[in-house]
């Protein structure tokens, strides 16, 4: 009995709500489902759950706790301006709202077969449209689910949502206006996403990569066979010998730091190559080289290099293993220790060759205050300003690699450097030619470098 009464009252509630006048501007319509509450609708549409009363008031809902399921709720705009139209007129307008036409869908080229590109012609009422929604189904007749949406004035969408390679799909596009009224296009299909065997978009990158790698390998090959390559004089390289000489005259030590990076880093490798030259000279002059390390692998290699330098110079007796030691792999602990070393030992020359981080400033500033000759080289562009300010000579960026090739005469380094130089020349030429052509409206070069 109570149940019956409940049903009856729900029925009359429905009738009561459906009687309301929709003569205000709306944002959209919502069909109430189980669990829907006005609070959440207000939250979704206005971003403010407290505005639920507005929805209640405009829809003439007597009790927000007993809204019948399946009833259509009109969401008013915040101002809810009165308009002179009635529901019937709005429904009539809905019919007048033109859908999009010429929907086509095709497999997206150059991919792994998991996307479809859909294009269409804009609705003639595009100025009224707030968004286009793309719907997909695996049959032509029904079961369309929304897969994505785009704003007005857009006539393309790439569907990549959970597509299965080789399956057939059907699409339609739904235009929705600001009041939530929508119109569907005709269905297009079937379309089958497939995978391609070559990514057409990247063909020029492929060509460039092959050419570049070829140049590098060619140069390394020739360098190994003993071909001499010319490397220009780099300011700061002469200063290396000068600094070693000064330390010898003053009877003080040399401090050599290879940065905070590990053994695999190109900067550390360059720093180690420069160390081999410095250590050799220093061994000849009997000047000690101090190396505090912050990476255990790097320290092992440093010991090998310095020991080798002493053997080459025929002075193994002056080699002291304790001058090269692991300090800490923590940046600040390392800096504090090296700073202390600088102030205690007062080395006459300090080398910073490798990759540095924020500690560069503290190190270079402390070194500067001890009056040592400081020579830095790093490809860490954020730290270069501090080395340039505080050091006597600074190798900038790639100059570090070049200096290591120049000083060590290692064919591998020289060949690679030469190959990079040739490639740089190609880029320079491409820029010059490309810019000139571009100024005359010819886009060949820029077409090569543009990736779709």
């Amino acid at each position: 009995m109570i149940l019956l009464m409940g049903l009856a009252s729900a029925g009359s509630l429905r009738a009561q709500i459906e009687k309301r006048d929709v003569n205000f501007e709306i944002l959209g319509t919502v069909t109430m489902k189980k669990g829907d509450i006005l609070w959440n609708l207000a939250r979704r549409y206005y971003g403010d759950p407290l505005k639920w009363t507005l929805i209640k008031e405009k829809n003439k809902i007597p009790d927000e706790r007993t809204i019948p399921i399946g009833i259509v709720i009109y969401i008013p705009t915040v101002e809810a301006k009165k308009i002179e139209k009635k529901v019937e007129e709005i429904i009539a307008e809905k019919k007048a709202f033109a859908p999009v036409t010429s929907v086509t869908a095709s497999d997206t080229p150059s991919d792994d077969g998991k996307s479809v590109t859909i294009t269409w012609e804009l609705s003639p009422d595009d100025d009224k449209v707030s968004q286009y929604e793309i719907l997909r189904s695996s049959t032509a007749s029904g079961g369309f689910e929304p897969v994505g949406q785009v704003p007005a004035k857009t006539n393309q969408y790439v569907d990549e949502r959970d597509l299965i390679r080789g399956n057939e799909y059907y699409y339609k596009v739904r235009a929705t206006d600001k009041r939530g009224i929508s119109a569907d296009s005709q269905v297009f299909g079937p379309v089958k996403p497939v995978a391609q065997w070559f990514n057409e978009k990247y063909k020029f990158i492929g060509i460039a990569a092959i050419v570049f790698c070829g140049i590098i390998i060619y140069c390394i090959y020739h360098a190994r066979r003993g071909q001499e390559f010319f490397v220009r004089r780099i300011a700061g390289i002469e200063a290396v010998d000068e600094a070693i000489g000064r330390a010898t005259e003053m009877g003080r030590s040399i401090l050599f730091l290879t940065g905070l990076s590990g053994i695999g880093s190109i900067s550390t490798l360059a720093g180690l190559n420069i160390l081999s030259r410095v250590a050799r000279r220093a061994a000849e002059y009997d000047t000690p080289v101090l190396i505090p390390a912050c990476d255990p692998f790097v320290m092992v290699v440093e010991r090998e290099i310095v020991k080798g330098a002493h053997i080459d110079a025929g002075k193994l007796d002056t080699y002291k293993e304790d001058n090269i030691y692991f300090v800490s792999d923590d940046q600040f602990a390392y800096v504090a220790a090296v700073d202390g070393l600088m102030l205690r030992e007062r080395p006459a020359a300090i080398f910073y060759m490798g990759y540095f981080f924020a500690e560069s400033l503290i190190l270079a500033e402390t070194g500067n205050s001890t009056g040592a000759i400081q020579i830095a080289g790093t490809d860490s562009d954020t730290q270069l300003p501090f080395f340039i300010a505080a050091c006597d000579y600074t190798l900038i960026g790639e100059e570090l690699y070049a200096a290591s090739a120049y000083l060590s005469r290692e064919p591998l380094l020289l060949g690679s450097l030469k190959g990079q130089d040739w490639s740089k020349l190609v880029l320079i030429a491409a820029i010059v030619v490309g810019v000139i052509l571009e100024s005359f409206g010819i886009h060949w070069v820029s077409h090569f470098f543009s990736v779709p």
Binding site: Y202, V301, D329
Partner: protein, 219 residues
């Protein structure tokens, strides 16, 4: 087995990554996904290397009874407490978060904030207009420093007469913006091009086994 197999492995892994870039077709796509999954899991274990050298260093200090001994004990205590709490209570547990927020964060943030003092004294003691290049750097730095803080535009708008303000409402900001977007951008682009070529060349050498310093760690 000791050297050749790792070098071949390195080459094959690299090759597959390149192939997948150009050929978006199975089986390469699936192999690529697997390869990434494996590489991620393997890289978890790189922690071993750093951890072991740190433990070794502090253990030796304690064993040899150096003056730094008490500090090395502090290292072990800190490590043990943090690791235990984190593993047992979970990383989003209250205790772990408390330790992180009140012990680790203040110390690391403060260590780095020391740089504020050092940059000031470095600017004072080392930043001299010794050469033309140094002068250019100095001028650019001063312009940017002036423009990037509110006082730059504030002063400009209060000192300049209206006629100048009509021409440029906020000249310092405009000049700084121009430096970032035009000359500085051009220089950074050139650096980027050069360094990228260097990076590709290094990657190539590693793949081909010409550059194999990483294998030295196994000697």
């Amino acid at each position: 087995m000791k050297l050749r197999v790792p070098l071949i492995l390195c080459f094959l892994c690299g090759l597959l990554m390149i192939v997948q870039f150009f050929i978006p077709h199975p089986p390469f796509t699936n192999m690529y996904e697997k390869l990434l999954d494996w590489a991620i899991i393997i890289s978890i274990f790189t922690i071993v290397i750093g951890l072991s050298s740190l433990i070794k260093l502090h253990y030796t200090r304690i064993a040899r009874k150096t003056p730094e001994r008490p500090y090395s004990v502090v290292v072990f205590v800190g490590m043990a407490v943090m690791a235990t709490v984190g593993i047992i209570n979970g990383v989003n547990g209250k205790e772990f978060e408390w330790l992180f927020k009140n012990v680790q964060v203040p110390m690391q943030a403060t260590m780095f904030s020391l740089l504020a003092f050092f940059i000031a004294s470095a600017a004072y003691r080392a930043f001299r207009a010794r050469t033309l290049e140094a002068t250019l750097m100095l001028v650019a730095a001063i312009v940017v420093m002036f423009a990037r803080v509110p006082i730059g535009s504030f002063l400009w708008q209060h000192i300049m007469p209206d006629s100048v303000l009509q021409w440029r409402e906020n000249l310092p900001e405009d000049v700084a913006g121009w430096i970032f977007n035009v000359p500085s951008m051009a220089a950074r682009r050139a650096i980027l091009l050069g360094v990228s070529l260097g990076a590709v060349a290094t990657s190539l050498k590693i793949m081909l086994g010409i550059e194999r310093s990483y294998t030295g760690s196994g000697e």
